[in-house]
Amino acid sequence: MTPADLDFVAALVRAHAGVVIRADKAFFIETRLGPVARREKVPGVPALLEKLRQTPDPVLTRQVVEATLMQETSFFRDRAVFERIGKVLLPELAARRPDGRLRVLCAGCATGQEAYSIAMLATDLAAPAAVEIVAVDFGQFPLEKARTGLYTHFEVQRGLPIRRLLAHFDKIDENWRIRADLRQMVQWVELNLLDDLTGLGSFDLVLCRNVLGSLTPEAQTRVLASLEAACRPDAVLVVGAQEAPTLSAAFRPAGSPGLWQRSQAVAQASASASAPVPARTQA
C-alpha cells in the first residue's frame, strides 16, 4: 500500500465517518482490507483501491470504510467501568424508575460484546426484562455477527468470567452463542453516528467508548451533541476511560474514569447559559 493509497482511504473514512486515520496505521489497514479485496475478486488491496478510484461505487466505498473502522472489542472491556455500572449505576437508575424500565444506548457497538455485557449485568437486576438496549453501529458485517450472538472460543475467553459464560451461553460446535433471553434484550440498528440519532429516543445509560477520540473535531462535537441530547435528565454517559470529551456543565464525574452523570439541578440552572465548559479531569 503506497502513501497515496493510504491518503485515499483516509480521505474516504474522514468524509463518510468523520474518523481520522493516523499515518502509522498503513499496515493495519492493508490487513483489514484484504478480505474486501478477496470478496471483490481483485488481486490485492492496491488493486481494490484502484478499482474504487476508477468507479466510486457507493456499496464498495461503504465496505472499505466499514472494514477500516472495524473496532476491537471484548466482553466487559475495562472491567472497573462495568463493575461500577453493574453494582451501582444500573441498580440506582432502576430504583428511580417506578416500573424499573431502563433504556441503554451503545453507540458504536461493533460486534456486540459491550451491549451483551450490559445485558448480562441487567440479569442481576430485579427485572432484567425491563431493560432495553439499543446498539448502533455503522458496520453491516459486525452487526450481523452481533445479531447472531455467536462468538469464538477466543472471544468468549477475553474479559468474560467463566461463570457468566456458563450462565448465559450455549456451546455450539466450537463456538458459543449467547442465549435468546439476552439476545432479545438488544435491538441492533445500522446507523452512522454522524446522522440524526433523535429517532432512537432517550436513554438512562449511554455508552460511547473509544469512538470519540478517533473523530475529527467537527465530528466529535456533532456526535457529543447527539449523545447529550439522547440523555435523560439523570442519565449516565460513558466514554472511554482515557477520553476527556468537552461536555456541557450538567455532566458530573460519576465515580470511575470515563463515567459522567447528568445532574438535573445543574441542567436547569445552566439552561440559559448553555456554553460548553472545558473537559474536567477526574479525581
Binding site: 471484548s74 472491567r79 472460543h153 477466543f154 475467553q157 477475553r158 474479559g159 468470567p161 467463566i162 461463570r163 459464560l165 456458563l166 450455549d170 456451546k171
Partner: protein
C-alpha cells in the same frame, strides 16, 4: 522488598508447560512446573504457590483429584486455581468450578487470555 509470587503450572505436556511458564513469567510470576497432580501436590506440601494453572487430563493424578486433595491440605485453600484444559463441555467446566477453581481456560489459549483470566480473579 516485594516477594515474588509463584505460579505452579501443572500439565503433562512439556511443550504446554514451557509456553505457559513463559506467559506467567511475563505477568511477573515465578513459574514452577509439575507433570501431573501428584507431583504438583508434593510441591504444594513443601511450598504453597500463589496461583496454579491446572490441566485436567493427566496420568497418575488428574486435575480434579489434585484440586480435591489440595483443598484438604493445611493452607490448601489459599492458592488461586485456574483450570487450563482442552475440555470445553459446559457440564465438565461446571464440575471444575464446583470443585473450587476460580477460573477456567479452554485450550488453545494465548497470553491475552491468561492475562485476562488472571485479572478477573484478582491475581494481577
Amino acid at each position: 522488598m516485594k516477594r515474588v509470587r509463584t505460579c505452579l503450572v501443572v500439565d503433562d505436556s512439556r511443550v504446554m508447560r514451557k509456553v505457559a511458564i513463559r506467559i506467567v513469567e511475563q505477568l511477573e510470576f515465578e513459574g514452577i512446573e509439575a507433570g501431573d497432580g501428584l507431583e504438583a501436590l508434593t510441591y504444594c506440601r513443601a511450598a504453597m504457590p500463589d496461583a496454579i494453572l491446572l490441566d485436567w487430563s493427566m496420568p497418575v493424578m488428574d486435575g480434579i483429584e489434585f484440586l480435591r486433595r489440595l483443598r484438604a491440605e493445611p493452607d490448601g485453600a489459599r492458592p488461586v486455581v485456574v483450570f487450563c484444559s482442552a475440555e470445553s463441555r459446559p457440564e465438565r467446566i461446571r464440575l471444575a468450578i464446583d470443585h473450587g477453581a476460580a477460573e477456567y481456560i479452554m485450550k488453545p489459549f494465548d497470553g491475552d487470555i491468561i492475562a485476562s483470566k488472571f485479572e478477573a480473579v484478582g491475581l494481577i
